[in-house]
């Protein structure tokens, strides 16, 4: 029910694109994927949520885990283009201030 694509940009930023529902089952995949990226030295990550149709607390947990890991490795994990479904979860859990979603994938690491 989910496909997670990964692109590496010339500037070293990894762009992760989960497509579908980021729920219990997919959260495990997401967690593993982010761990591999960090192991490989990619600590600057953008998660593009433009095609994420559903997010639950376990998917959110995977994002927070990735954020913590990236910062520990001297990088960061940034969220771009959340759908209304995803934004609802950020707001209900008060994580919108912490995850600070960006409007754009390109410029997610600019500021």
């Amino acid at each position: 029910m989910i496909e997670i694509d990964v692109f590496r940009r010339p500037d070293g930023v990894a762009v992760v694109v989960p497509q579908g529902r980021l729920n219990m089952v997919a959260a495990r995949q997401m967690k593993d994927l982010l761990a591999i990226l960090l192991e490989e030295g990619s600590s600057r990550i953008v998660v593009d949520l433009d095609r994420t149709t559903f997010l639950d607390s376990s998917g959110l947990g995977a994002l927070i885990g990735g954020l913590k890991g990236a910062r520990q490795a001297g990088g960061d994990l940034r969220i771009a283009r959340p759908t209304p479904e995803v934004l609802t979860v950020f707001q209900l859990t008060n994580m919108d201030k912490v995850l600070r979603p960006r409007d754009d994938v390109e410029s997610a690491f600019d500021a």
Partner: protein, 147 residues
């Protein structure tokens, strides 16, 4: 004359007691939205969130791993859509949940888990748990926004 059932759409489904249940529940919800195109997206999202969270909790926590025969595990999902409300009743024959819903609060920003119940409570208009005849019943209610 006995009272007729209130007008509305009801979907009953027995579910696997594995994470597969989650995808099946999304499908059942999709059938509900297909049958009535008038439910607002905001109402759909908060209802779907609570159903999936509570269902995920049951699958993860209601049965003690490796104890008892998996074939004796039972999980049901009943969805109801009326002009006024969305309702879900999740029933399982797992162990009683010792949970005080009134004290479920959002953990700190660093926590990677423990948000499910607090998120569900925040999303919908009512969430109740009761143990009846050896079954756990979780009831979720969303009052629909006026169109």
């Amino acid at each position: 004359m006995p009272d007729p059932t209130p007008d509305g759409l009801h979907l009953d489904q027995s579910m696997p007691t594995t994470p597969d249940a989650v995808d099946l529940a999304h499908e059942q919800l999709a059938r509900l939205w297909a049958a009535d195109g008038d439910v607002l997206p905001a109402d759909r999202v908060r209802f779907e969130l609570a159903v999936i969270e509570i269902l995920g909790n049951i699958v993860e926590h209601a049965w003690i791993a490796d104890e008892g025969s998996p074939s004796e595990r039972r999980l049901t999902l009943a969805l109801t859509l009326t002009d006024e409300r969305l309702e879900a009743v999740l029933g399982d024959n797992g162990r009683p949940a010792s949970i005080d819903l009134s004290s479920a609060t959002m953990p700190g920003a660093d926590a990677e888990s423990g948000r499910g119940l607090a998120l569900s409570l925040a999303a919908v208009d009512s969430l109740d748990y009761e143990r009846v005849d050896g079954r756990n019943l979780w009831r979720i209610r969303c009052d629909r926004a006026p169109a």
